[in-house]
Symmetry: D2
């Protein structure tokens, strides 16, 4: 047992921390100003492209990539294990609106690129994976539906019907992250090709739908607590009205959708959780800075017991969370996603709610400023809170984890 | 001891409930559609004026009014005690974006009208109170400043300086509710006329500043989480650059500002808390409706233990809260604001956080819909959460209440 | 709506508070010393009898009594409504080991006396109710069984079988409060007379079993967190081996047991909850006294933010709880136990857990002393904590209350 | 970074787990029965000695030992690092009344033996360390005083005064663990030799006082909740009335007491925390066994959502806690106690309160059985709860940890 990062991780952490200090954090204010001046809030501020160019130049690019066994994929990515990438993802979480995109490590592109690399045909890779790897386009993953619990892919109502050499897609999706960004050129759509098939885990398939396909309607931006999440391309409601694509757009084989979705989950949760931990670190930093600079009742907030309690509890919670996420990454590296099932679920339960609580305390410490647009806290909170729901509410994961625990005693 | 409402309250409750069912709730969807079609989100949808006309016709108008002793003010209002008005305020909280305005019982107009009635000159009443009573204009209360803890009026930095027959005002205010609404014609501004005076509670004064006064700049809409709160006229940052008004605009006497602000607090908190309880009731209703209509894992949410626990705890909490707020209203009626000091503080501490928690559970139960604009829950949550900060954070009130409790043992 | 106590309540409160100050609180230390010197911890210290004599002399005796409609029973008791008695029960909760017994208002005698008055035959009243009313003997209520959820009387396994002119009882009960006290002369035993009857609520009966009946074995004292609760006569495991009593010992009719148990619940819960609130007040007082007298890090605990938060939250919680319990008493007086069903359940859920939390904070503030026998806090905590389980765990009541709430939307 | 135990740890874990299954768990019932038959509850049941003999034979003996640099001490112990010992301590926590004693790894002997090995003279080692290492006697650590916050050794009131060739000790201590056990032959006593010295951290010394020294009075057993903790030799109040010992009994030098106490803390906290985690695992196991075997409302508790939530949350919390404690052990091994200061404090804050909560849920799930002596849960709870106070209340550690966090921003 050894709690030190290995040499490669240390080297990349240092490099990334320098990049954050020299490029990302100084760009935050500029980025907001540039965005405010854009014709549409969904366009990309110029400074984002500058950050991407710099990151690529420095080799801080596509750091995330794993193959279908959750092992490092050096063909497309930096060849890092989940355990090596996780602490880097945490660092990007300290500036979650800029850093992941700057490094071409932003969801949902990361998972989509891995899906294409693992399951895509050569033609699919050439057409979509290459520009994604180059950061030239963005992508969306269209799975969640309004009338179906997001935790339950087996109930998906979108249909993908074979019709000659094409597939025809009909359905309604929402909270499709990134889809409001005009650079989002390609949708990976989950739907049922065999809705009445005997095995409910073989009814689904995934298919590629280019943005400009007739019948694909990006209808509106869904909100999260009033925010539209412009930085991440929003979360769109997307309608598919008789959308027709060539059969070659299917990813993998018919009936393979559920399996692909499952494979995609593990690394995605590690990334999300580590970025959340980075957000929590940002919140602690902001709390401390506020506490030492603001006075109430004749003494700095930093000397008030309740504030100290918040800060201590936040630190204690973050240290525990981080270790669990890192161990989960290590398990994925060593025994695979399946062997890490309980831990992947555990971090999904523990991380958002803990970080939500830390951000809430940080908001409270900032008073009206905390709920305002003048600090990043309210928006970070809304993002973290939503992860208690996204990809299945906490309660579903608690239930599932408990059933596995109980099984040993039956 | 008697927990039944009196006859007048019962009669008005019935009338108001009918008004809600027949007019307000059916107008909710229309109001949103009308607003979406307006040139500016700060304008008022036509249906709001229709609701106001109807409410006035039915005698559901200016129900809130008390005098400087917190006793019913039948000259300007309906002559109700705080205890009689409280359950009506609760009912309006079930549709907080429409109902309080429809009844001309919305903050901050309510407190502002009481201030004018209690402390205003005849000229001030004629010019500003009358159109406010008639619901023809709106008003703002400009007290909170970005650099000063909102709980501490003695540190206010805005200056009101006598210059000949005028006062000249300089300062920066934010989260000035209602000020984004173009109908908001008059600002009651709190500032220091005697910043170096020996008694820190006599340094402040309040003064009337018409919206169109040169130097008054309504700079931007502050957000609460991502919301701008269009229904309440937003929460503006307002700058005062050498704003000059006649000396006759001062409310009451120089040095009276702190006292007026204190007098304004008690009834305001009762109103806020009762509306929050109405919001909690709305949340419980939405939770129940969702729970009986949505299925997961083969059985309705309504039959799942965790959901039942949320609903039960919400009901138990609301019943306790309501009684405490009603008792506080009764104390204000019988022993005055000062005698009700502990209880006023207690409801300020207890109500927002409890209702925040109930709304959070309701959000969770609604999944992605809960955080979206398709249900009112996220916006109600943001409003309730902000009340843990507005007018002093919870922690300040806990500290103050504890000191009073401890004093008995010193 | 009126939150003031009526004149009779005020008069009795004043009298009782004086009795507490002059007699009960001064007796606490003596009572502990006397008990330590007794041959058996189950015997009664002499000072308890002196307190009883004094209370009786002052008319502070059997204050609790209601009839089968939950209306005041002036034949046997003081003729007080539930609402009049509740604040008196609270006061006794401030010294829960002495005061309820001193006033002959201690559980389970209170409920047992009401059962006898409401359902007992004249012979039963003469033999058992009279000495109970006089405080000469004590009694037990033998319902809870180890293998059956205490919330579910329909599963009781004790059998009461008719055999000629007798009934023969076999079964095992535990946590039978008071039974370790040798003065406990009579057991009201719940069991099944018709275990296969079609209506599961008509299978049970209640029967009187004198302590000295052959086959009745008071086996051992059950603990609650290491405490044996000597003051209340402990909580015994009691075995019934072919216990034979005359048929005339049946209370009411065969099959009436479930109904009697239900009738007994409402007032019992009010009493328990009000005494718990008295215990919470005691805890707040002890917290405050400790906070003003103890210093850490160079300033009194009373000036430390975290301590202030605990005290404030305790005060705010207690004020809400008390009002809900009083309202519940009022409902029982005005619409009966059935009409007050939701509220009775609500106070059962809310009170123990809230008071547990307050006592826990008080323990923490007292450091090692808090968990020790030198302060009453640990023992009060254990008693309050047990009430989250007794008579059905919180979760059962949450479930039931939620189902009633949800029913409105089905 | 590597989350696997090393080979030696794995080997010892396996050996210890087998020992637990074959010897310790089967002895639990016997041990209780033997104790019940003893003349005094403070004597040791015979089976404990049998377990000790067996453990020693198997080489599961004195596994804990570290030197003054927190490095493995192979002279006296098994030569394990903190990281190697920690998972073994966890396993003993699953049967905390027997296993630590069986392995001669029970507090406070562990810390006392380390103190003697690190700071004792050869004579002291010969007289006291050797029989302790052999498990022939027990020892106590007399530091805590009733009138002094246990977190603040600088305020200790016990005096150790040089008088010729002797020291004379006067003072009052309480919660001196182990001292009720007649086998406890030696007390390490902390007191002030230089109460007015300029450096408040050099005023204290530690001195050895044999049990039979005149003037040493073991006055009474302090309780934790209602428990006296017979298995650990209780927690005594101990008075020192003019207790005279030779000067050679001083440990180390005059003024060295504070430093020794600090050195003793780190490993002690690791041990406590790991045993607590073992207790939490026991609680989870008991919860699961109960949940699968008990039915309510027609289905097993294991299928009820609230129960599943408790079990899932317990599992998620324990996984996080364990990693933090292990990392802390690793830090102590690699950078020493000082470098691990924040983490040592973090586990002191996080572990007891988390385990208390898990045990509380386990109690609730067991109903009346949970609070009774028929399950170990109530007693484990009381022990864990007390660790929120022992060696400084949580709040003191939160404050200290927060100040270190804030220092970075000053």
């Amino acid at each position: 047992m050894d709690f030190a990062f290995d040499a490669r991780t240390e080297e990349l952490r240092e490099k990334l921390l320098t990049f954050m200090d020299e490029h990302v954090h100084p760009a935050e204010q500029t980025a907001h100003e540039q965005r405010a001046a854009l014709a549409s809030p969904w366009e990309t501020p110029a400074i984002v492209d500058e950050l991407k160019a710099e990151a690529r130049k420095q080799g801080l690019w596509n750091l995330f990539f794993v193959d279908e066994h959750s092992l490092p994929d050096a063909e497309y990515g930096a060849g890092l294990t989940n355990l090596q990438y996780a602490p880097l993802a945490e660092i990007t979480g300290r500036s979650p609106q800029l850093a992941p995109t700057a490094l071409n490590c932003a969801a949902p592109d990361t998972g989509n690129m891995e899906v294409l690399a693992q399951f895509g045909s050569e033609a699919q890779k050439k057409q979509w994976l290459e520009p994604l790897l180059a950061g030239e386009i963005r992508s969306a993953f269209a799975m969640t539906e309004p009338e179906v619990a997001s935790s339950d892919a087996t109930n998906i109502e979108t249909h993908i019907v074979r019709d000659g050499d094409d597939y025809v897609i009909n359905g309604r999706k929402w909270y499709i992250s990134g889809a409001m960004n005009p650079l989002c050129q390609i949708f990976i759509v989950m739907g049922k090709t065999d809705p009445d098939g005997p095995d409910i885990r073989r009814q689904q398939s995934m298919i590629l739908v280019p943005r400009d396909t007739p019948g694909l309607e990006v209808k509106r931006a869904m909100q999260v607590y009033g925010f539209e999440d412009h930085w991440h391309g929003g979360h769109a409601e997307v309608l598919f009205h008789d959308v027709r694509v060539p059969a070659g757009n299917l990813i993998g084989e018919e009936g393979g959708g559920f399996g692909i979705a499952q494979a995609r989950l593990g690394p995605g949760r590690i990334h999300h959780c580590m970025r959340l931990i980075g957000m929590a670190e940002r919140a602690i930093e902001l709390m401390c800075r506020r506490a030492v600079s603001r006075t109430a009742f004749g003494k700095p907030l930093a000397q008030q017991g309740v504030v100290q309690e918040w800060i201590a509890d936040a630190r204690v919670a973050v240290e525990q969370l981080r270790l669990l996420v890192l161990k989960t990454a290590w398990l994925m590296d060593t025994v695979g996603n399946k062997g890490a099932h309980t831990e992947i679920q555990a971090i999904k339960i523990a991380t958002p709610r803990t970080v939500v609580d830390i951000l809430d305390k940080a908001v409270q410490l900032h008073g009206a400023g905390g709920v305002s647009q003048d600090f990043p806290l309210a928006e970070l909170w809304a993002g973290a809170r939503t992860l208690q729901l996204a990809d299945g509410p906490d309660e579903v994961h608690q239930r599932s984890l408990a059933r596995r625990e109980l099984k040993r005693y039956l």
